[in-house]
């Protein structure tokens, strides 16, 4: 049981942090973005390179990795700040997948073969995977909950409700866009670093666009509820994937079948949410 929980933590905590990063954007400011996988890739590779190739200590490399996530998140939000809706989603998709392709190509990242020997996040003694995962997850949930309760988070939700209205009461939309970008970047960076450290290995395939399916599904299924709701939804989806794998007995088809079922359910939930939130009259 403990082994299964450790395995679950190993595969789910990184995705949970990514789902929290997405929820900061989607549920917070109301924009759909896809660049966060690229941001997590930059942080994860910087952590791996600093520890494996340069021999830096884990805390220092971790700090630099998360700082890079903040900077990349802020830079991305800066360059797409004039976009909204489908234009914003597409442009951020270009950034995210462009970064993924660049990671595959650049020689220093080990190309498609990746990098092995990425150190665990346990600082001195080898801390069990379960405990490390739980601590990282609690820090992520706590930070997101604090963000939602802060003044910045409240203003961001005002922007989501009515951007013109938020502007008219003096909210600095672009400033909050940058702030959201930086915070989501930090969470995405932490997600990439955790995933690399938990498995001890990193490769560009970890940052494929389809890897966003589960975090995006958890964000949509949570319907704007608390960070705990997002993480709970994500663990439910990961458990569902594992259940299909166990029941199906065939790992080559279990993955695609689970993805199909999750995509269909998420699509239906997205439509239902949008239809429910439709204005009753058009004035």
């Amino acid at each position: 049981m403990l082994d299964f929980l450790s395995y679950l933590t190993q595969i789910a905590v990184g995705s949970a942090l990514m789902a929290l990063a997405l929820s900061v954007y989607v549920d917070g400011i109301g924009y759909t973005v896809f660049h966060l996988l690229g941001v997590s890739g930059v942080s994860a590779y910087s952590y791996a390179l600093l520890t494996v190739a340069c021999g830096w200590s884990v805390p220092l490399a971790l700090s630099i990795g998360i700082l890079l996530g903040v900077v990349c998140g802020w830079l991305c939000s800066e360059c797409v700040r004039t976009l909204r809706g489908d234009g914003l989603a597409l442009a951020t998709f270009g950034i995210g997948v462009g970064t993924f392709e660049a990671l595959r190509f650049v020689r220093i990242t080990g190309g498609v073969f990746g990098l092995a020997g990425v150190p665990q996040l346990g600082v001195a003694a080898p801390v069990p995977i379960l405990a490390t995962g739980a601590v990282v997850l609690l820090v992520g949930i706590g930070a997101t909950a604090l963000w939602r309760r802060s003044l910045g988070g409240a203003i961001v939700r005002c922007v989501q409700q009515d951007e013109w209205g938020a502007l008219s009461i003096g909210a600095r939309v672009e400033g909050h866009q940058r702030l959201t970008g930086a915070f989501a970047g930090a969470l995405a960076g932490a997600s990439g670093i955790y995933a690399a450290a938990a498995t001890g290995f990193i490769e560009p395939r970890d940052f494929r666009p389809t890897n966003l399916l589960v975090p995006l599904a958890a964000t949509i299924l949570a319907c704007g509820r608390t960070p705990l709701g997002v993480v709970g939804g994500l663990f439910a989806i990961v458990l569902f994937f594992q259940a299909v794998r166990f029941i199906g007995q065939d790992p080559t088809t279990a993955g695609p079948v689970s993805e199909i079922l999750v995509a269909v359910v998420v699509g239906m939930v997205l439509v239902l949410i949008r239809l429910r939130r439709r204005p009753k009259f058009d004035g």
Binding site: C79, L83, G85, D86, F105, P209, L270, L275
Partner: protein
């Protein structure tokens, strides 16, 4: 330089065929349908399944696979997207739904064909003719001619035919077009059918030129979006010019920079064209 131009013409013509169906559908729906690329891939696989696995001769398997995938494309563009728009879904929601559809279709292909990549062309490569320092095969020449003819045809149709003007009118303002006596439902249906047939036909043609695998759908969609947005001012015909410009850029990256950066260039192009196309969009608009 000649080789770069030759490669640009050949790859640009393939991209033009990939993009035309998308550009035609986008002119009316205004929605970035990310499932477009997987329909191309599905058409190639349908032809492979019918022809190679079931042993049906090409004269029957090619039209059958085009018809089969066209029906799916028509159901999406002519039925699903207009219904979603009428229900009040935002373009970004429809885009996310189309991405989910891409994931579903991609996984269905992976399950049916076990992730096998396919190539329908002959193993014996025809030497072809010299063009601008590159070699061009008869099939490539056919693709170049077909894409140029289709681009010119769509340009003339949009400018001088009644149907072309009706498509433009419905794309610009469907309500006003219906007030002016245009049968909007008929135009949307015909446009969706033409787009679906073009997309499926391009997919089958592509499978005879290059290798296809189920994960290529997203790349095709992005190529179509980049080409369409690059030539957006000229409508569907502009997508052909956009595709050739994109083919040139890709050839420059391939020959002068590094072949490994080809896909990176594709996705950063997407960022640039979206930033340039939407820089004057009225803000704010959340969602």
């Amino acid at each position: 330089m000649g080789a770069i131009l030759g490669a640009a013409v050949v790859s640009g013509s393939i991209y033009a065929l990939i993009s035309l169906g998308f550009a035609l559908a986008f002119r009316i729906s205004g929605v970035f349908n990310l499932a477009h690329g997987i329909l191309l891939v599905a058409a190639g696989y349908a032809n492979y399944g019918l022809g190679t696995l079931l042993g049906i001769p090409p004269w029957l398997s090619i039209p059958a696979s085009i018809l089969l995938v066209s029906l799916i494309g028509f159901a999406i563009e002519g039925g699903g997207i207009p219904l979603a728009k009428r229900a009040g879904l935002k373009p970004v929601d429809i885009m996310v739904l189309s991405w989910l559809m891409l994931v579903v279709l991609q996984d269905v292909l992976i399950i049916i064909f076990s992730s096998t990549s396919i190539y329908m062309g002959s193993a014996n490569v025809v030497p072809g003719w010299a063009l601008l320092g590159a070699r061009i095969t008869p099939l490539q020449l056919f693709t170049v001619s077909a894409s140029l003819a289709a681009g010119l045809g769509f340009f003339l149709m949009a400018r001088f035919s009644v149907s072309g003007r009706e498509i433009t009118a419905v794309g610009d303002n469907p309500l006003l077009a219906s007030i002016c006596g245009v049968n909007v439902k008929r135009v949307v249906g015909l446009n969706a059918a033409a787009a679906a047939l073009l997309t499926a036909g391009a997919g089958v043609l592509f499978s005879y030129q290059d290798r296809l695998d189920p994960t290529l759908g997203m790349r095709f969609s992005i190529v179509a979006i980049v080409a369409t947005l690059a030539g957006i001012r000229l409508g569907p015909a502009g997508a052909v010019l956009g595709a050739f410009a994109f083919g040139l850029l890709e050839s420059l990256v391939l020959y002068l920079v590094d072949p490994g950066l080809r896909d990176t260039a594709v996705y950063f192009c997407l960022l640039v064209v979206v930033l340039v196309t939407y820089r004057r969009r009225l803000l704010p608009e959340t969602g």
